[in-house]
């Protein structure tokens, strides 16, 4: 195991031993299983409700877990001074930061996979249709979490856990609403509002591009090109956030 893998694996181990992750994972599983109750409200859109509720639950719970895990990642290391023992080893700060992000994403990949399995088992149990778009939606969620995680790490590279969590939560909602804001601003007669809508649309990551959950709900297909371009979009935003975080982190004093 090389230094990078060891640090990433340690990040995964930290999340696994963190009670919050375990409790949230268990809670998400219970909520997913309880979606059987929701099916009682429908007669002929059974598959749709089950998919919508299942993927929605996964998305919401994992988004908030991501905010929790990433927004204090660096600031906690600096506050507790655990970072002294890591960056004094023959590893660069960039390596350390990217490994921490990788550890976070490994944790989230395991959680997305485990929840998807529970979700699919439920569909099987109720004889509902399993479509490729449901799997694409789960994969898309992971890329959305990648953007959110890298944003959380960026904010935590220069602020405390609380400020970082507030900013990342704000980015999550703004990222999902960026497209809507752009559309609404277009209809404004005020050129300033129009410009502001346009600027926000281009400055914020559009998390809706990785959101295939509505398509999964309505059993619409997603072609490979659309998925790959969304994945590339997510990776590009994550790279931008990580690069800025690295720039700040490389210049910080750890007192």
């Amino acid at each position: 195991m090389n230094a990078f893998t060891a640090m990433a694996w340690n990040g995964f181990r930290e999340a696994r031993r963190n009670k919050v992750t375990v409790v949230v994972g268990a809670f998400a599983s219970v909520v997913l299983l309880s979606s059987t109750l929701v099916t009682d409200v429908t007669v002929n859109t059974f598959d749709r409700v089950l998919t919508d509720f299942g993927l929605g639950t996964m998305s919401l719970i994992l988004a908030f877990l991501t905010i929790f895990l990433s927004s204090g990642l660096l600031s906690r290391e600096i506050e507790r001074r655990t970072i002294f023992l890591m960056v004094s080893k023959p590893v660069s700060r960039t390596q350390f930061l990217v490994a921490r992000l990788a550890g976070n994403m490994l944790t989230l990949a395991v959680l997305v996979a485990a929840m998807t399995l529970i979700f699919l088992s439920q569909l099987l149990m109720f004889g509902a249709a399993i479509t490729s778009t449901q799997l694409v939606a789960a994969a898309g969620l992971w890329f959305e979490l990648l953007v959110l995680s890298s944003a959380g790490i960026l904010f935590s590279s220069f602020s405390g856990p609380a400020v970082s969590a507030i900013c990342t939560t704000g980015l999550y909602f703004a990222g999902h609403l960026a497209g809507d804001m752009y559309e609404i601003a277009k209809y404004s007669e005020n050129p300033l509002v129009q410009t502001l809508g346009r600027v926000l649309y281009y400055v914020l990551p559009n998390l809706e591009r990785m959101n295939f959950r509505p398509r999964a709900t309505y059993a619409l297909t997603v072609d490979a090109g659309t998925f790959l371009s969304a994945a590339a979009y997510g990776v590009a935003w994550a790279a931008i956030f990580t690069a800025i975080a690295v720039f700040i982190f490389e210049r910080r004093d750890f007192r």
Binding site: A3, A6, T82, L85, V87, S88, K89, P90, S92, D253
Partner: protein, 326 residues
């Protein structure tokens, strides 16, 4: 960039300075380090001695690339301190170390070993060896959050040693240890020196510095005020003599006109300290004035005295911390 040269001096610093900006608007500055020159030769145990806020930890943090200097240069084995590969030769124990508390002692030292470039059976063997050396083999499977302060200090030392460093940098290594733990830590440092490892350590515990160091620098207010071997520094002190006088009052002794280093009235006696050159004059004067001298003894040369003198000379005998400018 030149390759790492194990033959270059382990530590070289020239004109090192660090100014921190503090306050909400970052409009005040604290000068933690001011023009420090330092050279540590291979195989030495070099001590940094100074009161709190003297700049010891800042120096160490600059050397470990945790803090960037505001001025000057620092090199490890001829390489700038931000050269990551050079740190393969260095083991570092920070002050009040804080390892990941969700890991067991063994897991943490293994992680440190991976980061130092070890792997496989060699890493397993080395982890067992260092945990044994710091007497933590029995607690290696416990999570660090269950460790006492002394146990954390030991496991942190184990992570510093795991990569077989040629240079050990230890910040207050004996802090938080009981007398037995301090003794063991000192023995471990000496054992490392015997293996040829260079050690830089900082402390404000004078007996530790005295017991371990070949050379030392005394820092006060971010400046180096003394530097040399322990022997040189101690023997450079002005020898003094302590005298206890009876049958004379303090003002009567002071009227004898002999310059005194210190004078203190005790219950019916006067405790005097006088330089060796003036001791015969004082003795004659006291006896001539009808006093009785019931004890004369040379004062012990010590680092403590040297340290106090250095503080006094720099005008910072009571203050701690860096120089604050508003």
């Amino acid at each position: 960039m030149q390759p790492v040269s194990p033959d270059a001096p382990p530590i070289q610093a020239q004109g090192l300075s660090k100014t921190y900006k503090v306050g909400f608007w970052l409009n005040r500055t604290v000068r933690a380090l001011q023009g420090l020159d330092l050279q540590v030769g291979a195989g030495q145990i070099y001590g940094l001695l100074g009161p709190n806020g003297a700049g010891k930890s800042t120096t160490i943090k600059i050397l470990m690339n945790l803090v960037r200097p505001s001025g000057g240069t620092a090199r490890l084995y001829g390489q700038p301190v931000d050269h990551a590969a050079t740190r393969r030769l260095v083991g570092f124990l920070p002050e009040n170390p804080s390892p990941y508390d969700y890991l067991t002692g063994r897991e943490f030292v293994t992680l440190a070993g991976h980061l130092s470039g070890l792997s496989g059976h060699d890493l397993d063997r080395r982890v067992t060896e260092v945990l044994g050396a710091v007497e933590m083999a029995g607690a290696e499977k416990l999570q660090i959050r269950r460790y006492s302060k002394g146990m954390v200090q030991r496991v942190a030392l184990a992570q510093a040693l795991v990569g077989r460093p040629k240079l050990l940098i230890l910040d207050e290594p004996t802090s938080g240890l009981d007398p037995l733990g301090r003794r063991q830590m000192r023995d471990l440092i000496l054992a490392e020196r015997d293996k040829g490892t260079t050690v830089l350590f900082c402390s404000h515990i004078i007996p530790d510095v005295e017991a371990l160091c070949d050379r030392l620098a005394v820092l006060v207010g971010g400046r180096r005020v003394r530097e040399g071997s322990v022997q040189e520094l101690v023997s450079a002190q002005v020898p003094t003599v302590e005298m206890v006088v009876e049958n004379l009052k303090l003002d009567q002794v002071q009227q004898l006109g002999v310059p005194l280093e210190s004078a203190q009235a005790l219950d019916g006696r006067v405790l005097l300290q006088v330089s060796d050159t003036n001791s015969q004059r004082l003795l004659g004067g006291v006896l001539g004035a009808g006093g009785r001298v019931n004890r004369v003894q040379p004062a012990r040369f010590s680092l403590e005295q040297l340290f106090m003198d250095a503080l006094k000379e720099s005008g910072r005998a009571t203050s701690v911390g860096g120089e604050i400018n508003t």
